[in-house]
């Protein structure tokens, strides 16, 4: 009977160890999955945050269309304002806390950096530098013309300091 009892206790101990190990493995598996998910969501949050910063910059008074083109629009940049700003960009170099801002017209696609001579038949405006990590988002690039209000599809890219952060 004593031997049988010992056997029973051993059996129970093995069973408990096996069940505990099973739970530990399952736990490790799900913790791994959850940690990778946390990493992914941290990355997507970072990306979203950067995009929101770009959107906030596009909606700042120095860039935004306001109500100049009919109703108030978000993600709308006034081409005339940006062109004026590019001429005095040195004064604003530390205003937004970014390394550089670049606006590129996507549709209709036109080549050439904008100057006072070729405006509005140009495709790119550079404010400050084009160094660092760039985050971009789509915007409407609107201007006044002889035909009325004209809005194009463009991309605004904001450059943050250094890629080694």
């Amino acid at each position: 009977m004593n031997k049988k009892g010992q056997m029973k206790i051993q059996q129970m101990a093995f069973m408990l160890i096996a069940v505990t190990l099973l739970f530990v493995f399952v736990g490790i598996f799900f913790i791994k999955i959850m940690l990778s998910e946390v990493n992914q969501s941290a990355e997507s949050l970072e990306e979203k945050n950067a995009l929101l910063t770009v959107a906030r910059l596009a909606d700042s008074p120095e860039f935004s269309c306001g109500s100049a083109f009919g109703t108030s629009k978000s993600n709308c940049v006034d081409f005339d304002k940006v062109m004026s700003l590019s001429e005095i960009s040195d004064r604003y170099s530390s205003f937004w806390g970014v390394e550089g801002i670049n606006i590129r017209r996507i549709y209709p696609a036109i080549e050439g950096v904008c100057t006072t001579e070729n405006y509005p038949d140009c495709g790119k405006i550079n404010l400050f530098s084009e160094e660092g990590v760039g985050v971009s988002n789509f915007i409407s690039l609107c201007r006044k013309s002889e035909q009325g209000n004209v809005c194009d599809v463009a991309r605004i890219t904001v450059y943050y300091g250094g890629g080694d952060e």
């Binding site: 993600n75 194009d152 463009a154």
Partner: protein
């Protein structure tokens, strides 16, 4: 007497064995339920993640504001206005079909903005415009498989309820 004792112990042993089997089965059921619960939670989380995209949303918004080369006596139409013109089967001042211009414009903007190919991260896209549940324009390019980002915008223009959806697929 000895036989009786032996009989009792065998019966007890059988009972204990049955109890252990029931216990083991219970543990397996509990573990299986826990696994199913965690697995369903994991799957639900993934669905929510692939649904939203701020960048695609901004793209749709800027497309709706784009000024087309179709005009009437009041001036050039934006894409949003052109959708209403297309729905009413109106023509531009130069007699071109508004739906044709809309289709061409959406195709060209999407092509310039989301270039796809074997050496690019984008594999394809679908651009749909519907008014009051009726599909007006559908632009489909590339391979529509794999991970995607989606944007759906509902706007009211001239009393029409316009639904614009854009889905871009990544490798």
């Amino acid at each position: 007497m000895l036989l009786e004792l032996q009989f009792i112990t065998e019966e007890e042993m059988n009972k204990r064995g049955q109890e252990e089997i029931v216990g083991f089965a219970l543990i397996i059921i509990i573990v299986a339920v826990a696994l199913l619960f965690l697995f369903s939670f994991y799957i639900r989380g993934n669905d929510e993640e692939s649904a939203e995209s701020y960048e695609v949303d901004s793209f749709v918004q800027s497309v709706l504001y784009y000024t087309t080369d179709c005009e009437n006596f009041l001036g050039n139409f934006s894409v949003q206005e052109l959708i209403s013109e297309c729905k009413s089967e109106e023509r531009c001042s130069d007699e071109r079909d508004s739906c044709e211009i809309l289709n061409q414009t959406l195709r060209e903007i999407s092509g310039s903005s989301w270039q796809f190919g074997s050496d690019r991260p984008v594999s394809g896209y679908v651009f749909n415009v519907s008014v009051g549940g009726l599909e007006l324009v559908s632009v489909q390019e590339g391979v529509q498989e794999g991970n995607f980002r989606n944007a759906l915008q509902s706007v009211n223009s001239r009393g029409d309820s316009i639904e614009v959806s854009f889905r871009v697929y990544f490798k």
